[in-house]
Structure formats: structure tokens, C-alpha cells
């Protein structure tokens, strides 16, 4: 086995961006071109490597961990934590998605630097974020996972806190007035940290109380660890659930998301929506279900109910929004609700639906945030009431917005459909032992949610794209999409269509892996 | 006993010296009074030396040391007083509270 397949490929994919961040920071502040090219180079190489990995991946053995190191590489020997990495069919699509989105973010940033300018630090933060995201998807050791999971917080905190929205807001309840970016950044950081503190507690309990004294996901899975926990298992799952659910975010732990998205700079929103939200759902699939199958079964109804409440709730909240970006942010909560519904069914169809839902949401909502960013870049407002006639002023951008909104409402033939439809499909026949009437009710309510989703997206399109442009824009000279924007968006458009028409791009990797995982966890 | 007279003389001289140090305002006179006190000590040293029949005459040797040191001390002391007088146009010790700093 070549060293490429022996851990090095993944290591390079994960850590090249971090090296790139250091390199960018070493370049003098004035040389912005050099900084951009360096950032693009490192992110690009990381992406190309992940594509090579995707091509070399043995799809016939998608359920096996591949590309991991042969031998055990001790990391923190004292607690038996190892540098255990590897990918299987579940993590592969998400890994490629994360490197892909990083490259596109850097391309988009080329001439869209939020205030205060400073491309140097900003691109370094993107690269650090990339390391965290990719690392989370390849980590097979709980402590390693935790570290990567937390690494993403810091760059995102700074992105929101420094480059974020400077409008003043009055915080509900507190009555304090502060800048949006500060409130959002702190809320985001503390909220997720709160969750992950519990998650870490859960990990520690798995280590000490399961009797296995290991952090290896593979050794812990299969139910042995859960049996070792005995009565503690329910609390451990609760801790893990809290950590993951905050990150997803599931209702009612979602309120950091709209604020963070609204305040974040465009690229921050894109990466937040496209990848960061997936860390939570991925953790459910990768950690919660395989390691604690029995508790997953006990908790599945709760997760399912919260997911569906989230779908309806977020859609209704969307209807009330006047700010375009905030609307898209709330729509994320709804879409992640479908993903979680799929996971809650605990069937291979449901989890498959969840993964394709994650990928599709990453691509589509990422693109929506790009668009919202570019539009507010031109109009200097995100108030939908003031926009309108965008289709006339910026026809290409309006067209792309229309296409993406259609994809987001789950139009069949585009990527968003599979996740939505198949998670409903899975809810009809959940895992044996789960309440069938409950899940079928959830299916019907979730299906009603698709109507509401269509409603808010179409009304958004009507407000933003259609009608005559208001007089205030007529004297402005508007520039339609530029080259960098197209370069960042066209790949996403193509991916949306490609996955929609040929979902095997994702299913080809995931189906076997998911089936095997479900079989391992629940037998049969 | 013969030593008593010497001791009384020493005590008297010392007391006069103390009185001079405490009462006189002129720095030169204060110095002179200090010399008186040293002289009183010298008398005591020599007197005890003889009285105790010291085999190596330590008392007398100490007296010589004291005289030497006193001479040096007066030299430096007068020089300081002179400098103070030059700077301050006065040698009145009441006005000299530089040590308070």
C-alpha cells in the first residue's frame, strides 16, 4: 500500500490548509495578491487531493475504513488517544464537500473582502477553518474529533466578530444595545461551546465508564461500550445529543443560527451553512448511532419529533422574515430538520437520505448565502421590501437566485429533492421497534412542511426578483455577476443539477457504508 | 581606688560632650563636642588598661586607634561642614535635616 493511501493523503488534506494559514500570515500585509494566491494554492491542493482520494476510493468496500494509517500512531499516550484517521462511504462525500466549499469561498473572496479589509487574516482564518472541517470528517478518535470540532469555532468567532454586521441591534429580553456582530459572535461561541462541553463529558464517560478505556470510535461501536455504561448510558447519550443538537442546530437549540448567519460576512455564512452545520448531523451518524444504538432507539422518537417541529417552526418563522439572509438562515433549520428526521428513522434509507440531504443543503444553501451576500454588496440592504425587480436590474443573478430557490424548495431533478423525499419515505417504515404511527404522523407533517418551504421561498423570490425595481436603484449603476462570482457559483450550480439528475454520485459511496453501519448497530 | 578619679573625669568629659552635641547649634562645635566624647572614651580605655594590667596593652592600642580615627573623622567632618556652609551660608544644625529625605 502506498504511503498516499496510508494516512498521508488524509493528513495532507487536513493539514495543508493549516500550513497555508501560517504561510499567508508570513507574507507582508501589503502583498495582497500573494496572500490570495497562497491561500488558493493550499486550499486548491487540498481539494485536488480529496478528489484524487474520491477517485481512488474503493467503492466496492465503501463500508470499510480506507486511507487510514496501517499502524497505531499514538497521540496522547496517557489517555490512549491515537491519531486515528480514515474515511468510509459516509465521510467521503462530506470531506470532498468541505474542501470544495473552501476553494470556492476563497475564489469568491477574491474581490469581496468585507470591512475591515485585511485579506491576510481573513484568508488565514478560512484556511484554519478548512483544517477543522476536514479534520472532523476524517477523525476516528473521539478526542481528535473533539479537537477538530472545536477548532472550527475560533476562526468563525473571529470572522463574525470582526468582519460581521455593524448594525446596532437591541437584544431581546436584555434590552441592551450592541453591534450585531458582537452579540452574534458571542452567542455563537458560547452556545456551541456549551453544547460541546457536554459532548466532551459524554466522551469521557465513554472512556472511563464503559470499561473499554479507549477513544477509538471503531472499538467503541457495536454496542459493547453502551452495555458497559449500564444505567449511565441514557445520560451519556443525553450529553452527546446536546452537543450534537446544538451544532445541527435542532429546535429548540437553533437560535444562535439566525443571528450568526445574519451577522457573519458572506463567506462565513457560506461555510457555516455548508459545512459547520453538517458536523452535528455527521456526528449523529458517525458517533451517536454506532456507539450507542440502544439509546439511539430510545431517543429516536424525541429526535424525530424535534426534527419535524423544527421543519414547521422554521418554515413559519421564515414567513415572518423581512431580511433575506435571516430567511435563508431559518430555512437551514428547516432543511436540517429533514436531515434529522431521516437519521431518526434509524434505517439505511433514512440515513442515506440524511447524508445526501446534508450534501445538497451544503451546496444549495451555500449558494443562497453567496447570492444574498452579493446582493447586499450591490444594494447595501438585505431588506426584501426594498429590493424587488432584481431580475430586471441583475438578470443573471436573478436567474441564479431563482434556480437556487427552486433547488432549495426541493424541486425534483435537483439535489435538494432526494434528501427531503427520501427522509419522508424512510419515516413511513422506521426501524423495527420504533413507533410506526408516530413516524407516519411525522411523515405527513413533514410533507406539509414542504408546502410551507415552497411558500416562503416563492414569496421571497416574488419580493426580491419580481416587480419593477424601486426608484432608489434606478440612478445606481448595477453590475451583474462578475467573473469571480461566476467561478465560485457555476460549480455549485453544476453540482446541484448533477446530484439531482444522478444521485449515485452520493449514493454510490454511502449506501453500502450506511447499510453496514445500520446492520452493525441494529442487527438484521 | 585610683581608677575612680579617672572614671569620674571620663564621665564628666563625656557628659560635657553629650551636652555639647545636644545643645550647640554650630556644627563645628558639635564636632568638637564629639571629640570631647571620644577623649572621654580614650581616658576610660587607658584607665582600665592600667587597672586591669592588660598584658598586651589592648586599651592603649584602642585609644591610639580612636585618636587616629577621630583625626580622620574630624578631617572629613570639617570638610562636610565647610561644604554645607558654603552651600547654605550657615552651619546651624537645626537647619540641616537632609537626613529626613
Amino acid at each position: 500500500m502506498s504511503s498516499f493511501e496510508n494516512g498521508w493523503a488524509l493528513t495532507l488534506i487536513v493539514f495543508l490548509p493549516a500550513v497555508g494559514a501560517a504561510a499567508v500570515l508570513a507574507i507582508p500585509k501589503a502583498q495582497e495578491e500573494a496572500q490570495k494566491w497562497t491561500a488558493l494554492l493550499f486550499a486548491g491542493v487540498s481539494f485536488v487531493l480529496s478528489v484524487i482520494v474520491a477517485f481512488q476510493f474503493d467503492y466496492g468496500a465503501a463500508d470499510k475504513i480506507q486511507f487510514g494509517p496501517d499502524s497505531t500512531l499514538t497521540w496522547i499516550g496517557a489517555i490512549n488517544s491515537n491519531y486515528a484517521i480514515g474515511i468510509d462511504g459516509i465521510s467521503l462525500p462530506l470531506l470532498v464537500l468541505s474542501t470544495f466549499m473552501t476553494v470556492l469561498s476563497i475564489i469568491y473572496s477574491w474581490n469581496h473582502w468585507p470591512e475591515p479589509h485585511n485579506p491576510k487574516v481573513f484568508s488565514a482564518l478560512i484556511l484554519v477553518l478548512a483544517t477543522g472541517m476536514a479534520g472532523t470528517f476524517v477523525a476516528l478518535d473521539l478526542i481528535l474529533f473533539f479537537v477538530f470540532f472545536e477548532v472550527v469555532l475560533l476562526p468563525m468567532y473571529f470572522m463574525i466578530g470582526i468582519w460581521g454586521d455593524r448594525n446596532k441591534v437591541t437584544i431581546p429580553v436584555l434590552g441592551m444595545e450592541t453591534e450585531m456582530r458582537l452579540y452574534a459572535a458571542i452567542k455563537f461561541f458560547l452556545f456551541t461551546l456549551f453544547g460541546s462541553a457536554f459532548m466532551l463529558l459524554g466522551f469521557l464517560a465513554l472512556y472511563f465508564k464503559s470499561g473499554l478505556e479507549t477513544f477509538s470510535m471503531i472499538s467503541l461501536s457495536g454496542g459493547g461500550a453502551e452495555r458497559g455504561l449500564e444505567g449511565l448510558a441514557v445520560w451519556v447519550f443525553a450529553a452527546l445529543f446536546l452537543g450534537f443538537a446544538v451544532k445541527v442546530p435542532m429546535f429548540p437549540f437553533h437560535t444562535w443560527l439566525p443571528d450568526a448567519h445574519t451577522a457573519a460576512p458572506t463567506v462565513g455564512s457560506v461555510l457555516l451553512a455548508a459545512i459547520l452545520l453538517k458536523l452535528g448531523t455527521y456526528a449523529f451518524v458517525r458517533i451517536a448511532i454506532p456507539i450507542m444504538p440502544e439509546q439511539s432507539q430510545n431517543w429516536a422518537p424525541v429526535i424525530g419529533i424535534l426534527a419535524v417541529v423544527g421543519i414547521i417552526y422554521a418554515s413559519l418563522a421564515c414567513l415572518a422574515q423581512t431580511d433575506m439572509k435571516r430567511l435563508i438562515a431559518f430555512s437551514s433549520v428547516g432543511h436540517m430538520g429533514f436531515v434529522m428526521l431521516g437519521i431518526a428513522t434509524l434505517t439505511d434509507i433514512g440515513i442515506n437520505a440524511a447524508i445526501i440531504g446534508m450534501v445538497a443543503h451544503g451546496i444549495i444553501t451555500g449558494l443562497l448565502f453567496f447570492l444574498a451576500g452579493s446582493m447586499s454588496h450591490r444594494y447595501h440592504t438585505r431588506e426584501m421590501a426594498r429590493l424587488g425587480g432584481n431580475q430586471k436590474l441583475l438578470p443573471i443573478m436573478g436567474g441564479i437566485l431563482g434556480f437556487t430557490a427552486m433547488a432549495s424548495l426541493g424541486l425534483p431533478g435537483l439535489a435538494g429533492f432526494w434528501g427531503e423525499f427520501l427522509s419522508l419515505l424512510a419515516a413511513f417504515n422506521p426501524l423495527d421497534g420504533l413507533s410506526i404511527p408516530l413516524f407516519r404522523t411525522l411523515m405527513v407533517i413533514g410533507a406539509v412542511g414542504t408546502v410551507l418551504a415552497a411558500g416562503y421561498l416563492l414569496w421571497m423570490l416574488q419580493k426580491v426578483n419580481f416587480g419593477e425595481p424601486s426608484d432608489e436603484w434606478l440612478e445606481h449603476e448595477m453590475h451583474d455577476v462578475d467573473g469571480y462570482e461566476l467561478a465560485a457559483w457555476v460549480p455549485l450550480l453544476v453540482a446541484t443539477l448533477a446530484i439531482g439528475v444522478f444521485p449515485k454520485i452520493v449514493f454510490g459511496a454511502t449506501t453500502d457504508a450506511v447499510s453496514e453501519m445500520v446492520r452493525m448497530a441494529f442487527g438484521g | 581606688m585610683i581608677i575612680n578619679q579617672f572614671l569620674i573625669l571620663g564621665a564628666a568629659l563625656f557628659s560635657i560632650g553629650v551636652y555639647g552635641v545636644l545643645a550647640r547649634r554650630n556644627a563645628v562645635l558639635v564636632l568638637l563636642s564629639v571629640e570631647l566624647m571620644l577623649a572621654a572614651v580614650n581616658i576610660n580605655l587607658v584607665a582600665f588598661d592600667r587597672y586591669l594590667q592588660d598584658s598586651i596593652a589592648g586599651g592603649q592600642i584602642f585609644a591610639l586607634f580612636v585618636i587616629t580615627v577621630a583625626a580622620a573623622e574630624v578631617g572629613i567632618g570639617l570638610a562636610i561642614v565647610l561644604l554645607i556652609f558654603r552651600n547654605r551660608k550657615s552651619a546651624n544644625v537645626d537647619e540641616l535635616d537632609l537626613m529626613k529625605l
Binding site: 417504515n429 415552497a454 444522478f502 444521485p503 449515485k504 449506501t511 | 529626613k100
Partner: protein, 698 residues
């Protein structure tokens, strides 16, 4: 597939002529039929990207693709008449896992070539081609000419994806593609808020119905363990009353029918269709004739054995009949008060769709689809004729028309033929199909059990259907009178439309005359035989001969409608609105407000949801959930302040106090240091004296 035919064999044996029907697989022709949906879809995309530089700015590509479909469809139709074709091709696009029964569920794209889909290919291709041709004249000079043809090609392509679907997933894909392209086309003039609202309404009403389709598709496919129609039909052919599909069939049947109600605009989900007139007239023509509204009827046709087999969804049929009957009668009445000529036609479409659905519910597969077939021709003809009129007078309102037969003779004559065909006058197309529907309902009334619709119900429905035929003739007479007779009431000088618009009218008028002749009971059975080419025979009843009694009653109803209409409206010179109030007493306010259904939807559902409910949720989000979050933050800050106070005053106090004590003492002691040597000496002496005194005393 061969195992499937084995399942189907017993039913095939039961077919009319008693001998097993053999079908061919269609050979190369069927193998390449995937081009039928793909060509228009590719054309649609091509027009988006290179349309402005292509010949005729996109019209060429769009119409070319439709011409291709028309020719391919015609060839298939003819060879299907020779010998029935049943063929199914597919390409796997991913597996999604296994269901609890161990079936591996796979996703596929595919193409179905059988009697039903071939008929639809022909209708879509033929009507599409003519409408596209007409649109070149109608849309000349439009601001988004190229974009219009891109959406239009997508509309046709989406319908063909739907029609060619061999599995439920692809059907849903095509279903929604039709929905989205109708959204684009209805909202074509999106500068006006009304138009984009109509587009959204169409999309959302359809989306509501799609919930039904989704759920129905999920139930059926998971019960069967496959998305393929052939697998579903195989389960039905077994006829096992204990199979999973049989157990869920009632709910699945209802859910699927709800889906069909959306696209086929059945009462009470019909509200989007009249508003959909906001789009350009060719869109209405295509939408009402060949694509979109026929999808629901097609869907029931595709799943017909499911609805027509005992133990399966046959117990949902009375629901279908009731809905269809309500639609055919209630919406027909609405056409009586509409002033907009396109709305008159829209309500008439609703009414005719009601006929088709009623027929399907009565178990008359061929009759329902035959009406779909003939209706496609005369309804597109009527819409294109209306478009031609609108093109000439620049208004949709009949109060601005009148007397146009003198100015636009070709439009007038073709429109008249279309109206007569719609009214069901012998020997035009509508007569044959409507008569067959009436006969089928009568048959259902005589033979079906309660579960399948019920005899009394069917007899009642028959009466309503005949009344409906009267109403149809009545409102068409009104439309023709107000538009073409009397004095011209509009502005300017109307003139006949260009040839590119009138030739399609003439062609369609020709089809409106002859289309019915391919299925004359007892004489020509081409259409019936063509539609029988299915993997599983639909198993419906065909009348053996013309039922002269029913035909006479139907014709009398239609003629009566025309006659009464003639006396009331013919040669009327004035605006109709005020008079309609007298002519249709009591009902008028109800009809004027469209039975208040729209008002109910808007004020009862949409506005509350978008307004108070949404705001309440948003408020809840900001004030209740965030109350916990921000409250925690607030509490943390308060606790922190207390802690800080304790820290500053308590913990730090100890250290500060000792420091202060040290400082104070130092301040006191420092008083001793005067700097006066004499004082020091005094103190030394005094101290010595005290010490000496102490030694002496103690």
C-alpha cells in the same frame, strides 16, 4: 418482465375478445423512445444558454424539439395501432437501501412505451407543435421572447418526463417540472405583482396536492418494495387481499388522488387554474390541453388497475366520482358569469376535467382518456382562438369585443368549430368522448357495487353530467355571442391574425372534427385497442355499440343549451355584467365570488399563516426561546457581578487591609525621622539612660 407477464396473463385472458393479447416490445423504435423526453429538455437548456444566437432566437429549437416529439409520437401511435407496444427501459441512478421486507430500493430514470404513454406523446407533440408554431406569431416582440420558449420547451419536456415515467420517482420529477415551468410561464410578465402572485398560487396549490402524491407514492412504493409501475402492477395482478399494498390501498388511493386533484384542478383545489390565465395565451392553450392539467387524469390512468381492482383502491372510487362530479358542475356554472374570455375557457376546462375524473372514478379508463384526447384538440383550439382575438383587440374582456366575425373570419369559424365540439354536437370530437363517458357512468350505475361507487350515486352522477353538458353548451353560446356577434365595443380596428397563427387554428379545427372518429363504439375501436397495450390490462368496460338513447339525451341537452343561450345572449350589444345579475338570480353573488373558496383560502389560511402565525412564531423565537438563552446570559452577568463584588470587597479586602495597615504604621513611625542628628543623638542618649536605669533598677 417475463415473470410479470405471467402474473398479468389471467387478466389479459379476461380481455374482451377472449383471446390473450400479445404485445410487441416495439423494437428499436421503443428502445430509442428516451429521446422523447430528453430532446425537449435539452432544447430548453440549450435555449437558456445559446437561445439568443440560435435561429429564430430560440423558437426554432423549441418548435423543432416539439416537431420531433410529434413525429416520433405519431410513428409510435401508428405502430401501436398495428400491434400493441409494451416496453420499459431504465437506467439506474443509485440505490438507497433496503426496506423491511428485504427489497432493495433503487432509483431509476426510464421510459415507458405503452398505449397510454404513446397516446400522451402524440397529444403533447401534436398540440405542442401547433401551439409553439402559433406562439411565434403571438409572442412576436415580447420582452422575454427567448426565455419564453425556454420555459415553454421545459413545460413540454417536463410533461414528457412525467408521461414517460416507468416509476413513481420519475413521475414525481416530471410532475414538479411541469409545476415549476407553469410557475415560470404564468409569471411570465412578472413586473405585475398580480401575475407573480398567480404563479405562486398555482405552484403552492399544486404543492399542497403534491403532499398527497408524495405520501401516496411513498405508501405504494414501500408496500411493494419498488418504485416501478410494473412491480406495482405485478402485486395488483396477484390480487392478494393480504398484501401490504392491499392493506394500505385506501389511504394510498386517496393520497394519490389528492395529488391528481392538484394538477388536474379538481374542486376544491381548482382555484389556481383560472388565475393561471395571467400567463400568455399560448401557455394557457398548452396547459389546458396537453400538459399540466391532463397530468392528474394521466396519473389515475397510469395507476388504473390499482383503482379498478378488488381489494385495492377500488373503495376510493366513490370519492373520485363525487369530486369529479362536483367539479364538472360547479365550475361549469362559474363560466356563466366570467367576463374575461380566457376565464370562461378556464372554467370550461375545469368542467371538462371533472368529466374525465368522473369517468375514471366510474371505472371508464378508455372513456376518460378519450375525452382527454379529444379535449386537447378543441380546448387548445379555443384558447388559441381566444388568443387571436385578444391579440387583435388588446383586451381579455368580452365587454370590449363583439362583432368580430366580420373582422376575423378564420378565427371565428375555427372558434365556432371548437365551441361546437366542446358542446358535444354530432359529429364533432367532443360528442363521441362525452357520450362514451355518459355511457360508462350509466354502466357503472347498473353494474357496480357500493364499494365501487354505488349504483344510486352513479345514476345521480349521470343526471348531473347531462346537466353539465347543458351548461357547457350554454356558456359557450354566451362566449361566442358576446365575442363574435353584435357590434364591436372595443377600441381601434381589429384585424385577422397573421398566417402563422391562423394555420395552427385551422389544423386544430380539423382535429377537433375528426379526432372523435377513431373511437366509435361498435364501429371503430382504434383508440380503445391502442390504450389497451399495457403490461397489466386496465380491465375496464367498453360499450359495444352506440347507445342511441343516451346520445340523444346528451345532444338534446347540448342543443337546448345552445338554443336558450341564443335567445338570451345572441346579438346582445351591451356589457353583460349588469344583465347577468338578472339572468342568473340568487346564484349570481355566489358565482361572482367563485363560491368564496378563494376568499377562504386567502383569508382563512394564507394570510393568517403569513401574518399572525408567522409573526407569532418569530416572536416566540425571539422572545421565548431567546429568553432562555439571553436570560441565562443575563443571569450569568448578574451572578458575575455579585461574585466580582465579593471578590473585590471580600477576598481582595484582606490583602488590601494588611497593606493599608502596613502603610499606616509606616506613616506613624516615619514621624520620628526628623533628620535632625541632635534629636537622634538625644534619643540615643535617652535610650541609653533608660536602658542603664533599667539595668540598675531590675
Amino acid at each position: 418482465m417475463s415473470s410479470l407477464l405471467a402474473f398479468a396473463a389471467p387478466l389479459l385472458l379476461a380481455a374482451e375478445d377472449g383471446a390473450p393479447k400479445e404485445f410487441s416490445d416495439g423494437g428499436v423504435l421503443a428502445e430509442w423512445a428516451w429521446l422523447i423526453p430528453v430532446v425537449p429538455m435539452v432544447a430548453a437548456f440549450a435555449i437558456v444558454f445559446i437561445g439568443k444566437r440560435s435561429p429564430w432566437k430560440g423558437w426554432g429549437l423549441a418548435t423543432g424539439s416539439m416537431a420531433f416529439v410529434m413525429i416520433y409520437g405519431a410513428i409510435l401511435f401508428i405502430s401501436n395501432l398495428n400491434k400493441g407496444i409494451t416496453y420499459e427501459g431504465s437506467v439506474a441512478i443509485g440505490e438507497i437501501g433496503t426496506d423491511p421486507y428485504g427489497h432493495t430500493l433503487g432509483l431509476e430514470w426510464g421510459w415507458m412505451v405503452d398505449g397510454l404513454s404513446i397516446m400522451m406523446y402524440l397529444v403533447v407533440g401534436l398540440v405542442g407543435f401547433l401551439v409553439f408554431t402559433y406562439a411565434k406569431g403571438y409572442m412576436e416582440g415580447d420582452i422575454r421572447y427567448t426565455w419564453f420558449f425556454a420555459s415553454f420547451a421545459l413545460f413540454g419536456g417536463g410533461m414528457l418526463v412525467l408521461v414517460s415515467a416507468p416509476n413513481l420517482i420519475q413521475l414525481i420529477v416530471g410532475w414538479e417540472l411541469v409545476g415549476v415551468s407553469s410557475y415560470l410561464l404564468i409569471g411570465h410578465y412578472w413586473e405585475e405583482h398580480e401575475n407573480s402572485s398567480a404563479a405562486i398560487k398555482a405552484f403552492l396549490v399544486n404543492k399542497v396536492a403534491d403532499v398527497g402524491l408524495f405520501i401516496g407514492a411513498i405508501i405504494i412504493s414501500l408496500s411493494v418494495g419498488s418504485f416501478r409501475f410494473t412491480d406495482i402492477m405485478a402485486v395488483i395482478a396477484e390480487g392478494d387481499s393480504q398484501s401490504a399494498l392491499a392493506r394500505f390501498s385506501f389511504w394510498a388511493g386517496v393520497a394519490i388522488f389528492i395529488g391528481a386533484m392538484g394538477k388536474s384542478a379538481q374542486f376544491p383545489l381548482h382555484v389556481w387554474l383560472p388565475d393561471a390565465m395571467a400567463g400568455p395565451t399560448p401557455v394557457s392553450a398548452l396547459m389546458h390541453a396537453a400538459t399540466m392539467v391532463t397530468a392528474g387524469v394521466y396519473l389515475i390512468g397510469r395507476l388504473f388497475p390499482f383503482y379498478n381492482t378488488e381489494f385495492f383502491a377500488d373503495d376510493t372510487r366513490y370519492i373520485i366520482i363525487i369530486i369529479g362530479t362536483l367539479t364538472l358542475f360547479l365550475t361549469g356554472l362559474l363560466a356563466l358569469v366570467a367576463n374575461d374570455i380566457k376565464k370562461v375557457l378556464a372554467y370550461s376546462t375545469l368542467s371538462q376535467l371533472g368529466y374525465m375524473v368522473t369517468a375514471m372514478g366510474a371505472g371508464a379508463y378508455t372513456a376518460g382518456l378519450f375525452h382527454l384526447f379529444t379535449h386537447a384538440f378543441f380546448k387548445s383550439l379555443l384558447f388559441l382562438g381566444a388568443g387571436s382575438v385578444i391579440h387583435a383587440v388588446h383586451s381579455n374582456n368580452m365587454s370590449d369585443m363583439g362583432g368580430l366575425r366580420k373582422y376575423m373570419p378564420q378565427t371565428f369559424w375555427t372558434f365556432l368549430i371548437g365551441s361546437l365540439a366542446l358542446a358535444g354536437i354530432v359529429p364533432l370530437a367532443g360528442f363521441w368522448s362525452k357520450d362514451e363517458i355518459l355511457a360508462s357512468i350509466q354502466y357503472a350505475g347498473q353494474n357496480y357495487t357500493t364499494a365501487q361507487g354505488g349504483a344510486e350515486l352513479a345514476n345521480f352522477v349521470l343526471v348531473v353530467a347531462i346537466l353539465g353538458a347543458f351548461v357547457t353548451a350554454f356558456y359557450m353560446t354566451r362566449a361566442v355571442s358576446l365575442t363574435f356577434f353584435g357590434e364591436y365595443k372595443g377600441h381601434g380596428h381589429p384585424h385577422e391574425s397573421p398566417k402563422i397563427m391562423t394555420y395552427p387554428l385551422i389544423a386544430l379545427a380539423g382535429f377537433s372534427v375528426v379526432a372523435g372518429w377513431i373511437n366509435i363504439p361498435g364501429v371503430i375501436k382504434w383508440f380503445t385497442e391502442a390504450l389497451e397495450a399495457r403490461f397489466l390490462a386496465p380491465g375496464d368496460h367498453h360499450p359495444e355499440a352506440i347507445n342511441f338513447g343516451l346520445a340523444a339525451i346528451g345532444t338534446v341537452a347540448a342543443v337546448a343549451g345552445i338554443a336558450i343561450g341564443y335567445f338570451i345572449w345572441f346579438a346582445d350589444r351591451e356589457t353583460q355584467k349588469e344583465r347577468d345579475k338578472f339572468r342568473i338570480p340568487v346564484l349570481y353573488p355566489l358565482l361572482e365570488h367563485k363560491y368564496y373558496i378563494d376568499d377562504f383560502y386567502m383569508d382563512g389560511i394564507v394570510r393568517p399563516l403569513r401574518g399572525p402565525v408567522a409573526r407569532a412564531v418569530d416572536w416566540f423565537n425571539g422572545h421565548i426561546i431567546d429568553l432562555v438563552i439571553n436570560g441565562t446570559g443575563w443571569l450569568a452577568v448578574r451572578i458575575a457581578r455579585v461574585t466580582y463584588w465579593v471578590d473585590q470587597r471580600g477576598v481582595d479586602g484582606v490583602f488590601n487591609a494588611s497593606a493599608a495597615a502596613t502603610g499606616g504604621t509606616g506613616g506613624l513611625v516615619r514621624l520620628l525621622q526628623t533628620g535632625r542628628i541632635q534629636q537622634y543623638v538625644f534619643l540615643i542618649v535617652a535610650g541609653t539612660v533608660v536602658l542603664v536605669a533599667g539595668f540598675i533598677i531590675f
